[in-house]
Symmetry: C2
Subunit: 298 residues, 2 copies
């Protein structure tokens, strides 16, 4: 997966961020000191016509919505609340006023749903539609969840059945409510959104937390029409993938039973020692390596 | 200038930003409440191959540098200090590792010069190179300069001779030092960077400040090889264009004389009442309208 090599390369060149930066490149958001009680969260995600979507199928409105949704998902996976976005657009010249209206109606609608203000951006001519949203949020210090806190023995959970990222990648609902519920009520040791598939994203948690993991193939919940392979290796489903100690997890299960919460979680595996590596337990107990592989951009 | 129509349209759709936002769309940066003494400044600027640069001439390294420089210029023109950036890239597949190294070496170098940390971003495949930098800075509340504070009678000034934006648009030096000097020592009533040419950018100040203006064509300082037309209507020169009362200006002129400051300013006109409109005084006193016209993207 060449994209990962590129990110590694960029991390190397970027070097250590200066003071005031709690976390730089290498998580869903950058984490910056704000005040005594909270951090700023900051992420940017770019969608490019032909790479991430087909404009004819998707249309401007849904593309605008998705460009914001993937960024909300980044803030959610750190346990925070989104507040502001800027939107940079490269727009094909044909019908640009109509196009920008459609694009921004999609953007505005999801911003309204999630209480986000549009505070700036840039608009330019481009052959292919490009949209880069930069999002800004906050998280209470004690509710911050990163990729690096998972411990050997922690359970691995995923929200909801894993959607079919090939089919539903435009209209997904970012798991903000779920993430805030989790960050406010439980000790979540690590979290990420499944943007590149469970395999790649779980490998990222393991790398950051210096652990291994094993997941049980049969336990991975699939929604109608999605394949096991896609859930593991395709991504674009934007569920939350997180870890917590068995003790914390018991609290969660009890609460779900008692309070009849409308939130769905599935245990799909457990964290292991680093030297055990990342393993997938498949049919009839067959063990294979959970490959660091996901959607290939390059 | 269709880009301006698009921005107007976007402003309309985006609507009023929520609480905590001092300024949304419509200035060089969004201005967000931070603490008692300072505001956060936030801007995003996108460069697209074929629209903003020719990759063969510019190369990856200089393009990376420029993508950061235009954003530093945005922070400068509000009187602030840049602190962090995220970088979203759409990268052609050919030679992507070598390309990303060159791009980031340009980014890293200018970041080091200006004390900026690279804290995040995104990398994707794209047919044409696209680079969107989102920048984050701070400004002391009393040093914030917007586009909207110019008053009738204020003088209009520009830093340095206006460079040839067609030739030098890649390697310009953002006027951060100059902007900080101005915001720290004088009451600057409004400021903007000349990214779209003096005519368009001055029209923006007039619109935000609800004033008119007149500029004296002969007073516009040109650097070698740049034409008057380009200085007015082409842009990409990234000088500071600002206004201050004649009284404040006298202080500045005295200081420059006395302290032998290495800073150059030219008075090019004065702010007038709104009903006078925006005028250009040309050869032999001929008066024409300073058109709201700049580099055409669409």
């Amino acid at each position: 997966m060449k994209e990962l090599k590129l990110i590694k390369e960029i991390e190397g060149i970027a070097g250590n961020p200066g003071k005031g930066v709690k976390l730089g490149i290498g998580d869903d958001c950058a984490v910056i000191e704000c005040d005594r009680k909270s951090y700023l969260l900051w992420a940017s995600d770019m969608l490019i016509e032909g790479t991430h979507f087909n404009l004819k199928d998707a249309g401007y409105q849904r593309t605008g919505r998705k460009a914001v949704a993937v960024n909300i998902s980044d803030i959610a996976s750190m346990g925070g609340v989104p507040e502001y976005i800027t939107v940079s657009v490269g727009l094909p010249a044909e019908g640009s006023l109509k196009a920008i209206r459609a694009l921004y109606s999609g953007i505005k609608k999801i911003c309204r749903e999630y209480g986000i203000s549009i505070v700036g951006g840039d608009v330019n001519r481009s052959k292919k539609l490009v949209i880069d949203v930069s999002i800004f949020g906050k998280v209470e210090k004690k509710r911050l969840i990163t990729r690096s806190g998972a411990k050997e023995g922690d359970l691995i959970l995923v929200t909801g059945p894993v959607r079919n990222g090939r089919k539903d990648h435009l209209d997904f609902v970012p798991r903000l409510k779920e993430a805030r519920f989790l960050s406010g009520n439980y000790r979540i040791s690590s979290m990420i959104d499944t943007s590149d598939g469970i395999a790649a994203d779980l490998n990222r948690i393991c790398a950051s937390s210096r652990t291994g993991c094993r997941i049980y193939g049969d336990a991975v919940p699939l929604s109608e029409g999605s394949s096991f392979e896609d859930a593991l290796y395709y991504g674009e489903s934007f569920e939350l993938l997180f870890t917590m100690s068995p003790l914390e997890a018991r609290k969660l299960f009890k609460d779900i039973g008692r309070k009849r919460l409308e939130l769905v979680y599935f245990v799909i595996g457990e964290m292991r020692s680093k030297k055990e590596g990342c393993k997938l337990i498949g049919k009839e107990g067959r063990v294979s390596i959970l490959k660091m592989q996901g959607y290939k951009h390059f």
